[in-house]
């Protein structure tokens, strides 16, 4: 599904969603969510191939593979929270989308904690180890 059909789908579903907005708002937002899901599902295949190439390059540069998994996890969390935030905001629930963004940030912080300690160790090693204790 190339970009042309994605844009056509987006335009058609936005017109349909606006057409239904006056009669029942629920179905209009369902149409926009359905269109977004179809677009994202078609784009995800490209992400898969790029992830394999990136991880093979990182493996060649002998970077620890734990970081790659953390990186992927954080990207997935960002992807999901962004999708949910946008759609809760479009439904008009601004507070809920703010809460979801906050929850996503906290989860990302927690999943990337091991990287922070690793960076600190590197900094300590670089600075000759005086700061370690």
């Amino acid at each position: 599904m190339n970009i042309v059909s994605i844009c056509a789908l987006a335009i058609v579903s936005s017109v349909l969603s606006i057409a239904l907005k006056r009669h029942n708002q629920e179905l209009s937002i369902l149409i926009s969510i359905g269109a977004a899901i179809i677009i994202l599902l078609s784009v995800i295949e490209y992400i898969l191939s790029s992830i394999d190439s990136v991880s093979s390059i990182l493996a060649k540069a002998n970077i620890n593979s734990a970081y790659v998994t953390i990186l992927l996890k954080v990207m997935g969390i960002c992807f999901l929270t962004e999708f949910t935030c946008d759609y809760t905001k479009e439904a008009g629930l601004v507070a809920l989308s703010g809460n979801i963004a906050l929850a996503g940030k906290i989860i990302i912080l927690i999943t990337s904690l091991p990287m922070f300690s690793e960076v600190l160790n590197i900094v300590v090693k670089l600075s000759g180890g005086e700061l370690s204790d």
Binding site: L20, H23, L27, L41, I77
Partner: protein, 64 residues
């Protein structure tokens, strides 16, 4: 891909809107509300299967 799903939901919306007006004009407000809720449930069920597909794909791709 399930492009026709969007048109199905739009069709449900239009039919429910028309039925709603029809039933309201003929004095049966409760049945109008019931048809609206029924249409909403049908569309919601279709969307939920799509959402679960998307989320499981994301889970497998990003290893969440």
């Amino acid at each position: 891909m399930e492009v026709d799903m969007i048109f199905k939901i739009a069709a449900i919306g239009i039919i429910v809107a028309i039925l709603n007006q029809l039933l309201i004009r003929s004095g049966r407000e409760e049945q109008a509300l019931l048809t609206t809720i029924a249409g909403l449930i049908v569309a919601l069920m279709m969307i939920i299967t799509q959402i679960s597909d998307l989320f499981s794909t994301i889970k497998t791709t990003f290893g969440l």
